[in-house]
Amino acid sequence: MLEVLIFATLNGLVTGFLLFMLASGLTLIFSMMGVLNFAHASFYMLGAYFAYSLSLYFGFWTGLIFAPLIVGVLGALVERYGLRKVHQSGHVAELVFTFGLAFLIEEAVQFFWGRDTKNYQTPEILDFPLFTLLGQEFSAYRGFMMAISIGIFIALYYVLTKSRVGIIIQAAITHPQTVANLGHNVPLIFMGVFGVGTALAGVAGVIAGPVLTTFPGMAAVLGSIVFVIVVIGGLGSLAGAFIASLLIGLLQSYAIASDVGMPDLLDLLGLSFARDHPLNDLWTINLPQIAPVLPFLLLVLVLIFRPTGLLGKREE
């Protein structure tokens, strides 16, 4: 039992940190630039695929460096030649644009890399168990994932608090012209931020690719969960996103690990229903079954009782 708990926690943290890598980018793009970027997870997928191709020739580490760069540049280009034009016609326009983009990227990936799952492997160096606890291995690679994620958090946090980028973006969303009049090159900043955001998604892809398997559907799997995190964390709050990521990671992993469900509850209450009871489905639900939707439940609850999210200041 104990080791289940311990490993559930570890797994939860790993998932959480991974989610944060994605969320960090989206926090920049969605909660600061206000762009509902539905293609974010697609950039994550691109990261994985580029890294895969690079790793075939130059090995994993080259992929880790260059794949995010490529993705970032792509992102910047998208901002420059697409979003910027769309931006004037409002959030919904951006949303639909990124919808289309997500479509496009998924199809493009299938077009260039085919539809099969790709054999993208973790690097040899990290291919050993970091520690073995009660007969279970915890691979070094997962440790590495955590490290990177924490690194990103610290770096971003520093940049956003120490530099004025954060507030410039915030101001420029509503008053671009005024900010320009004060001598800031707004378009460049937006392009940069979007680039960095997508690059971060790329990093997440590079790192998640080997563990979560690299296949055309990998974006869809994470698609909306990232938004959930950013919103639960609270718009504009990096720390919020961080906490939310871990929260959701742990929530899901505990839910899966636990074997409790309605039946246990009913036993507790001393109730029991016939198998042909109309609500039989309800009486037989158990937590692992509904683990994947718990985040959305959390989302709805948070928004109902705390519309600004956990650490959110800004409310739109």
Binding site: G82, V86, G100, L101, A102, F103, L104, D281, L299, V300
Partner: protein, 410 residues
């Protein structure tokens, strides 16, 4: 006069609704028309939220789906004669349930608009989609549930076994729904919905609770989405989880947006266009999704107010009788644009297909020989350049065509 003009649009609408199946009577055509009918009601109902109420919803399929499920259950009840009434009223059942769902969810989700609303709708959408898989005794799991519409009392001897019969039934419902949704925009509630969309705070200072105004449009949207769901149930006689999941919600958003949120007919256009693309494109190319994606991007970038907006852009020119000014520039720009598109498509398709000869619009090309590629790319480049060059003139022509004639200017 204005009355005549207004009603004339409706007459056209009716004629279209009931005339089209006369012209396009193949089974496929009817099936497509049926899809359109459903999509139109659904998209219009979505626009009540987003276009008129300023509420961006990622979960609108929920009301469509629930309405549909209830309707199929109704069909089953009719089949086993637990209930006896004509299937004419099935859409109403769907609508009522959509309304109920709207009242329930709206009661807490319409408190705020903007991101909060959007995300609650996303969450609820996912939750309900997920639970629909869990409660398989009601929702029938991933295989869904199915009924049979041919039971129940006949309607003037029709048992609605054939899709064409269902289409006419649907057409009637579409007309009614559309009419009512239009009328809604002409009522105080409808107008206040716009006001709240624009400036909820101010609305409160002229006596209206923004939340309640939103709630009303939200419920109305639920009702009509449910009706659409009912029509779906009648048409396909079955329904599955995918009819209330995020993908469906996304599709209706795209329909409404591409069509043009700002205009009542926008969603109708969007519904028609997307349905057509969906059913025609998909069987000509494996890559149709790719093209669909590209089309979205281009539409959003170059027609920010959707197709309807694009049409409306010519209203002035039309009124002023300046349309002829536009003909030439449109041709000048249009032809190379078309050429460019074709070339690109051919290039994509060619690089995708692994046959050694490649047939397109009657021509035969060898993907193997590099000349083919060079030529195509060259043409594409030239065409693109031509478009870039002529675009300025087009815009200019358009400006002048829309500008007031000299004497009006002051």
């Amino acid at each position: 006069m204005t009355l005549l003009r207004k009603s004339s649009i409706w007459i056209v609408f009716v004629v279209a609704l009931f005339g089209l199946p006369q012209i396009f009577d193949s089974i496929l055509a009817i099936s497509i028309l049926n899809q359109m009918a459903i999509a139109i009601v659904f998209a219009l109902s979505y626009n009540m939220l987003l276009g008129q109420g300023g509420m961006l919803s990622f979960g609108h399929a929920v009301y469509f789906g629930l309405g549909g499920f209830l309707s199929v259950h109704a069909l089953i009840l009719i089949e086993f004669e637990t209930m006896v009434f004509s299937i004419l009223w099935i859409p109403l059942i769907g609508g009522l349930f959509g309304l109920l769902a709207g009242i329930f969810i709206g009661s807490f989700s319409t408190r705020k608009a903007g991101t909060v609303f959007a995300m609650i709708s996303l969450g609820m959408g996912e939750l309900i989609a997920a639970s629909s898989l869990i409660f398989s005794s009601f929702f029938g799991g991933e295989a869904g549930i199915s009924g049979d519409r041919t039971f129940g009392p006949l309607f003037f001897g029709f048992d609605f076994a054939q899709n064409i019969e269902i289409y006419y039934l649907a057409a009637v419902w579409v007309f009614i729904a559309t009419l009512f949704m239009y009328l809604f925009t002409q009522t105080p509630a409808g107008r206040m919905a716009n006001a709240v969309r624009d400036n909820p705070e101010r609305a409160e200072f002229i006596g209206y609770s923004a939340r309640k105004v939103r709630f009303i449009s939200f419920c109305a949207a639920g009702l009509f989405a449910g009706i659409a769901g009912g029509l779906f149930a009648l048409n396909y006689e079955f329904i599955t989880e995918e009819n209330l999941n995020a993908a469906t919600s996304g599709r209706v958003l795209l329909m409404a947006y591409i069509g043009g949120l700002g205009y009542f007919i926008g969603p109708i256009i969007g519904a028609v266009v997307l349905t057509l693309m969906n059913s025609l494109l998909s069987n000509y190319s494996e890559l149709w999704m790719l093209y669909l994606g590209i089309m979205f991007l281009l539409t959003v970038m170059f027609l920010p107010r959707g197709f309807a907006g694009f049409i409306m852009m010519h209203q002035m020119a039309w009124v002023r009788g300046n349309m002829k000014m536009l003909v030439k520039p449109y041709i000048v720009t249009g032809i190379p644009a078309l050429l460019f598109a074709v070339c690109v498509i051919v290039l994509i398709e060619m690089s995708h297909s692994d046959e050694e000869t490649f047939h397109f619009l009657g021509m035969t090309l060898e993907p193997s020989s590099s000349i083919t590629w060079i030529v195509l790319i060259a043409i594409a480049g030239a065409a693109f350049y031509a478009v870039r060059r002529s675009r300025a003139q087009l815009l200019d022509a358009w400006e002048t065509a829309n500008a007031a004639p000299k004497e009006e200017q002051s």
